[in-house]
Symmetry: C2
Subunit: 401 residues, 2 copies
DNA sequence: CTGGATTGTTACCGGATACAACAAACTCCC
DNA sequence: GGGAGTTTGTTGTATCCGGTAACAATCCAG
């Protein structure tokens, strides 16, 4: 409700908006910025001057214009100079990326990991180690402006502590705090749920660009989700918003790890599919196992087909419920749900036709993730960049001291 | 993304913020406004001067201060002078209220109506007639600054047309347009879904004040809902957000009017309860019939108790799903669901314990509507006032010509 | 090479808020 | 009842931000 000392606020906001433009939209000419932001030429110049002086963007003459008139300077993000660290803790791997302003992945390391084990010391140690390696390779004029991590689990908004997850037992893990300490950059590490951040990623740089209402469904061991409502990530009161995995789609269904029955996760998760296909425990686990089922079904394997069909029905019912409640413009399937959806699109559409209301269904678009496995890392990077976009000059002033 | 000519924007925003303070918070001293809005004394003075000159607020010396120092002028909304018309089309009644700035219901008329009949001409005619009667009784210096209607049905965001609802057949009803024409005030009539507007009302003036994430569930013939996420009403892409009535809570359940099976509406709607209690068709309909079931259960009627129990189970499962997905701070039961919840709170809580995840459940509060039947009217009034709060001076300049 | 078009650059203007100083009005205490 | 202390209204000034306008720079077309 408060407005604040508004002179500075305006400037902050406009600087952030301009930076967000070139961060998300790539190199943009001043002329385009002038029209898209609705500001005057002279104002745009003042803003870009500030950002250039801060070392956040660079202005260059365009190669070819093709049009009459003086060529407009192109504003491009200082991708190589200004960067963040993005971390990802998935059930099957951990990954670190150095992501430049503008969203370029400059460097990246990852390693597999054993499922179900979550030793805070070990994890943060490995991640920080990767980050240090990458940092040593950077030139001296580069500057790290933030860090964020995506974890598969619930992250409490109040303090960023991981409170539950497939890898966690009863205890709570102060993941961000510990990782921040180990990094030793004097930067706080934001933490977010992996599916939430993947949703953010698809919204900013994936299939969901310019889509203000979308639902992203992510499958790995469990089922997670992220909801963009009105252009903003739905966080919920404590930060657990979008946890669609435990929506009950079949009250008499399979037992779920959460203690309930017939959760989306229990009916559509990796284990459900593999068990239905008679492949649980026997062969490989994870993404490859799911892909194998879909391929078998494609080749005519009846058991695989029926497994996919059943899972697709439940998935479709879950999507129908979400569509009825949210009326999104788009639903995006990511992680292993990408394969499941591609293998059972007919069932999903049938369930939608049965259970979703006409008006909500008519303009709905079903898509698969455009960013794939990189989605969580990209989302974490966006989270890390968020405070830079909120107040560009403050961040750089602090980094340059 | 665009910022606009920001000098004016700042002023507009601050004027709106100040007006919203006194509109929602009641009479407020300049000193309080200064601290709450984070603006300087002199700025607050300039803002209140403008609003006073426009006739939107009045400044008065307070009765008693009780504290040292010069008493701060109290800014109060011009409730008697500036008003809107709020309309409500429920299944069982239609209502019109004249609501003053600040949310005071100055005048109100309503009449019962037959269910299931929706004749556009007739409805808008009756509503406009009520409004004209009220308008004749107002003094000359009063000014109507807006109008909005709550309807039980889906309202398409793009054009405000009612596209589906318990009272509608296949056709679409340009309700707002027609009502606006009949009113003849030169004002557009905004239209919103009744449950959405009731949610807005509870959020601004009911149990949900200062709650940024809440779910409001409304029961009459069907089940509607309104979701406030991050302080904003969740509209969805086409405006059908919050339509929780057709979430499937029992795939093998009762047939629903929408063509699906086991929808929340079909399982816990009025008809479901009355049929389970063996009272459908025989006795009275509507709110009174529901109340009778709850009272019978209280007196020990086994059939009524079992009916309530079953309905409460389904309701609880639906709420658990919503809680998992949204992680709201509060769930509010309104309309006939108020009675249902009061009569089956134990079942609802049991289902929550079974199906809702711990972290989401722990800090959740379950409440009943504070505004009761007035919620939809109050919500419609808020919708009507919305554009006044967005740009106070423009609206009044136009009204005074 | 000239004319038209588009944009960068600069100086100036109007508007909005903060700040500071003074006046006004209240409470408390003697 | 009156003075001290406190809080707030009021007014004038300063600062900052964005818009406007005029001019210079640079491109394309012919």
């Amino acid at each position: 409700m408060r407005a604040g000392p508004s002179q500075e606020d305006i400037r902050r906001h406009n600087l952030g908006a301009l930076l967000r433009h070139v961060h998300l939209g790539g190199p943009t000419s001043r002329a385009e910025l002038t029209s898209k932001m609705g500001l005057n030429r002279s104002t745009i110049m003042a803003l870009t001057s500030d950002l250039t002086a801060a070392g956040l963007v660079r202005e260059e003459l365009p190669r070819e214009t093709g049009r009459a008139g003086r060529p407009s300077l192109v504003v491009r993000p200082e991708s190589a100079r200004v960067y963040v660290f993005a971390f990802d803790v998935s059930p099957d791997r951990i990954a670190v990326a150095r992501v430049g302003l503008g969203g370029v992945i400059l460097d990246r390391r990852e390693t597999v990991r054993r499922r179900g084990v979550f030793v805070l010391e070990e994890l943060t140690g490995a991640l920080a180690g990767f980050a240090r390696q990458m940092r040593r390779k950077t030139r001296d004029d580069t500057v790290c402006v933030g860090a964020a991590a995506a974890v598969s689990g619930g992250v409490r908004k109040a303090d960023g502590v991981v409170t539950f997850g497939p890898n966690l037992k009863a205890e709570e893990a102060p993941f961000g705090e510990e990782l921040g300490r180990k990094l030793g950059l004097g930067l706080p590490v934001s933490v977010g749920n992996d599916a939430n951040l993947a949703a953010l990623a698809e919204h900013s740089r994936g299939v969901g660009v310019a889509v203000r209402d979308l639902i992203y469904l992510h499958g790995d061991v469990g089922i997670g989700g992220g909801i963009i409502a009105g252009g903003h990530l739905l966080g919920g009161h404590d930060g657990y918003g979008g946890e669609v995995g435990h929506m009950v789609v079949n009250p008499d269904g399979r037992a779920c790890g959460c203690g309930s029955h017939g959760c989306l996760e229990a009916e559509v998760g990796e284990r459900a599919l593999l068990e239905a296909a008679g492949r649980f425990g026997a062969g490989p686990q994870g993404r490859d196992a799911v892909r194998a089922v879909v391929e078998a079904a494609d080749r005519g394997d009846i058991v695989a087909q029926e497994a996919l069909s059943r899972v697709g029905d439940r998935l479709g019912l879950g999507v129908a419920n979400l569509v009825n409640i949210f009326n999104p413009e788009m639903v995006i399937f990511g992680g292993m749900l990408r394969e499941v959806y591609l293998g059972s699109a007919a069932q999903v559409r049938t369930q939608l036709a049965l259970h979703a209301m006409g008006p909500q269904r008519e303009r709905l678009r079903l898509r698969t993730s455009a960013l794939g496995d990189a989605a969580t890392l990209v989302g974490a990077a966006e989270l890390a960049f968020a405070h830079v976009l909120a107040d560009p000059l403050e961040v750089l002033a602090r980094a340059n001291t």
